[in-house]
Amino acid sequence: MPSAKAAASPRIATLDYGLANTLLSLGVTPIAVAAAEGWSDWVVEPPLPSEVVDLGVDREINLELLAALSPDLILTTPYVQSLRSRLEEIAPVLSFSVYNENKRPFRQAQEATLRLAERLGREAEGRALLDRAETLFAALSVRLHVSDPGPLLLVRFMDARHVRVYGGGSLFQDVMDRLGLRNAWEGPATLWGFETVGVEQLAPAAGPETEIFTFEPVPQEVLPTLGNSPLWRRLPAVEAGNFSILPAVLMFGMVPSAMRFADVVSRALLESRA
């Protein structure tokens, strides 16, 4: 039975983790993914099957290797637009824009999922994925509403002095809106939904009610240094003990990453209030 299905599924290569993740959720295993090496650090769930070929860095995937694999279809994002004409020499290219000036990545991800599912003749699986997401969000938002958590500050450490803080235009923001969670960061954010700032610039957003979350992987020397810094330790949120490191969540992902984020964050919030 599985072998018959494998024969029927198209050979798809993808240059983007989010698209690869969506493919897996639709029940299709890509034959090749860019930077597959880093998957276990940045996406984690679901694990990438070991037979998936690593294409190299997304902006400079190994074209010879891709050509030798002779895929039926290549999935990309506008982030690697410069490669498009060369990819088209190898196979038809389908590009999906999720992070753009609309700054509504979750809605864009939903539309992209349906478009991709349609292209693969898997409309049912596509709609099921979106339904699963809505069901999850609805269930979680009820539980979160009861426990009434404070605002969230989502950061990723660049080093002990600098963080990327996620705001409007990030997938995280869209999911928080769905879950009825408030983002403590109201400052500016780039097209990609984050802003790089010094730790002390978090002060206005890090009140004692705020929960600060960061995600694996955290650069190794960061935590010991943070422990010594009055600016970090005396952030009211940190003083109140509201800082935790959560499992890795892909920040530029699509619907599966949104679900993983909702799951990981809700679990942390509900546990801390329990």
């Binding site: 400079e60 190994n62 010879e64 660049m158 002990a160 002390e200």
Partner: protein, 655 residues
């Protein structure tokens, strides 16, 4: 030593201090005034002032002073007005050590970033000084060695970033020299170290001052010159390492501060010992406050260290003509290096090597499964269409840069001249970078025009600086360093701001043949052929021009017209070559030396030999880049720099 004689120094100090103080009040005045009030509860503004703004200000003052002092000492002990932590490669060494530790031995960082950085700058410094010591610390050799070590470390660090993009984001920021603080640990660590080192320097001040005398006189006064030099250099190294490890790379302050002090009238070393740290501190304070105004409260941040390089390098170009540098006479580049006079043999050997490497590059390497082997049959046919353009482009670019190197070395009479070292390649890259911000998808001819314009602009600067000094190596090389640093600063600023165009620029600088298609490789090959033929056609001029204007005119060469034509050829060759392999490859420096070492001394023979050598090295570099980390790929320009730089250091040591 009357006060009036020092008037320009006080004026300069005032010109820096007043606006710096004004900007500080503008930035933090409100919070400073609020300090007098009682605090009630948590006050983020006060916390930020006490644990971020104030330590940042003190750090700027201390780091600026330490670097100014380090520069002043280095310039004295090496008798080299171009010496500084930046130009001797110390900062780059520290940065590389930190990158390596982050990736391969994170445990070391827990011992202390400072120690890791210290080790890196020590190694870089000792390497440069050891090469310099062999040649009695000749200013040009030392700075060239420093530049090469800098570029080498930079190339390696860039490669690590390319291979580990996501992990090393923080190094981008650190490398840019962000002064942001979040407690007093940095100034509290920097302050005592600076004071102790300052004390040691002051204890040695008298003997160090006497180092300014000619060696014979100094010896007659009973000075142990070598010991004195090494201990002075050691102190400067320690000062630099402390700043680099605690703060990051702050470009050019260590060169600017003593230079400004000297130009404003601090003629004696003892005066510069006071004024260089003072000017350095004020300069960094001024820059940092200006950066804070420009960045605004939440509008991201600019790394101050990159901004100092942005301002420092052009300022240096302006100051350059006023510097009194004793230029050492250079042996004419045509002078025999070895007595062995090459006939046909070395040339044929180079050609054979080039052919062998090209074929190797096409058919041998990693197979799609990842194992090594020869490509055969259908797979060869299928993959050749991807591979051929890259090999062809590498070959063409290598030839063009090599020819440009030969032209520039012969025209400037400077054996260290090359498109990379003179910054002409950097100019071409900046031209393309500018285009990146003007249009989204520039055509090939537009890119070539932009690269050519950039290269031409830089060449004009170099020629105008060089003309007045008769192409004195110091000035020309220094101008090149300044321009390379400028490009570096632009990239660091872009990267830190998170602009995605930074990655495109970084790829260009790395010099990957990745983007090459047959539509770009063929024009490059044609350009290489035509330009090389034109250069060969003018070969006689290249033999005669180095003899000097009167001799050349006597032999019937229209000197001005010949120079114009040959310089134009160099610009075209550089622009076309740089478009393919970026500004770092070192091919233009390496290839002419390889040809000369093989005994190819006449202009035409050297041109052909260098073209073969340059093409061979770049084809090999491209092959290594495609196969070493398969399926990940390394840019050919960077790989070639990793081969080229050590080769150059060897050449430098041998002479």
């Amino acid at each position: 030593m009357s006060l009036t004689a020092k008037y320009p120094l006080f004026l300069m100090a005032g010109l820096l201090a007043l606006p710096a103080a004004g900007m500080t009040l503008w930035n933090h005045g409100g919070e400073l005034l609020a300090l007098r009030e009682e605090i009630s509860g948590f006050d983020p503004e006060r916390l930020v002032l006490l644990y971020s703004d104030l330590p940042r200000l003190v750090t700027a003052l201390l780091a600026g002073a330490a670097l100014g002092l380090a520069g002043a000492i280095l310039q004295q002990v090496l008798r080299n007005p171009l010496a500084s932590p930046t130009t001797l490669g110390l900062s780059a060494g520290a940065k590389l050590a930190l990158s390596l530790a982050t990736l391969y031995a994170p445990g070391l960082l827990l011992l202390g970033r400072d120690l890791v950085a210290l080790a890196g700058s020590l190694v870089a410094g000792l390497l440069v000084l050891a090469i310099g010591a062999r040649r009695d610390f000749a200013p040009v050799t030392l700075v060239l060695a420093g530049l090469v070590v800098s570029l080498y470390c930079g190339a390696l660090a860039a490669m690590l970033i390319l291979l580990n993009e996501r992990y090393l984001d923080s190094l981008f920021i650190w490398g840019g020299g962000s002064l942001q603080q979040q407690d007093w640990s940095v100034p509290l660590a920097l302050g005592p170290r600076f004071l102790i080192l300052l004390l040691l320097v002051l204890l040695m001040a008298r003997p160090l001052e006497l180092l300014g005398l000619p060696d014979s006189q100094a010896r007659a006064l009973g000075l142990r010159i070598a010991t004195l030099r090494w201990s002075g250099a050691g102190l400067a190294l320690a000062l630099t390492a402390v700043v680099v490890s605690l703060v990051g790379v702050i470009g050019f302050i260590g060169l600017m501060a003593p230079t400004i002090a000297r130009l404003c009238g601090a003629r004696r070393f003892l005066e510069r010992l006071i004024w260089a740290p003072l000017v350095g501190a004020l300069l960094l304070w001024f820059t940092d406050q200006a950066v804070q105004i420009a960045a605004g409260p939440l509008a991201g941040f600019l790394p101050t260290g990159a901004v100092t390089a942005l301002f420092g390098s052009p300022l240096l170009l302006l100051l350059l003509p006023r510097l009194r540098v004793q230029d050492r006479p250079q042996p004419p580049p045509g002078a025999p290096v070895t007595q062995r006079r090459g006939r046909g043999l070395p040339g044929l050997a180079l050609l054979a090597a080039l052919l062998a490497l090209s074929i190797l590059g096409l058919v041998f390497g990693r197979l799609p499964e990842g194992s090594w082997g020869l490509l055969r049959g259908d797979l060869l046919v299928e993959l050749l269409s991807w591979r051929l353009p890259r090999v062809l482009a590498a070959l063409a670019a290598g030839m063009m840069l090599a020819a440009a190197g030969v032209l520039l070395q012969r025209l400037t009479g400077n054996e260290m001249a090359s498109p990379e070292v003179l910054g002409i390649s950097a100019g071409a890259t900046m031209g393309m970078a500018a285009l990146l911000f003007l249009t989204t998808s520039p055509s090939l001819s537009l890119q070539f025009t932009a690269a050519g314009t950039g290269a031409l602009a830089i060449l004009l600067v170099i020629v105008s600086v060089g003309w007045r000094s008769g192409f004195a190596p110091e000035r020309v090389v220094l101008a090149g360093i300044a321009l390379n640093a400028l490009l570096d600063a632009v990239v660091v600023l872009l990267s830190a701001s998170g602009d995605p165009r930074a990655l495109t620029l970084l790829n260009w600088i790395g010099g990957s043949t990745y983007g090459v298609t047959l539509q770009t490789a063929l024009p490059a090959a044609v350009a290489a052929g035509v330009l090389l033929l034109a250069t060969l056609f003018l070969g006689r001029w290249l033999d005669i021009l180095p003899l000097g204007r009167p001799a050349a005119q006597g032999l019937g060469v229209p000197v001005s017209r010949a120079r114009l034509l040959l310089f134009s050829l160099a610009v075209l060759l550089t622009a076309a070559g740089t478009m393919i392999v970026g500004p770092l490859s070192f091919i233009g420096l390496m290839a002419p030396h390889i040809a000369r070492q093989l005994g190819l001394l006449r202009a035409r023979a050297q041109l052909l030999g260098a073209a073969c050598a340059g093409a061979a090295v770049l084809v090999l570099a491209d092959w290594v880049g495609r196969n070493l980390a398969f399926p990940y790929q390394l840019p050919a320009g960077l790989v070639s720099a990793l081969v080229g730089a050590p080769l150059l250091l060897l050449l430098l040591r041998r002479r």
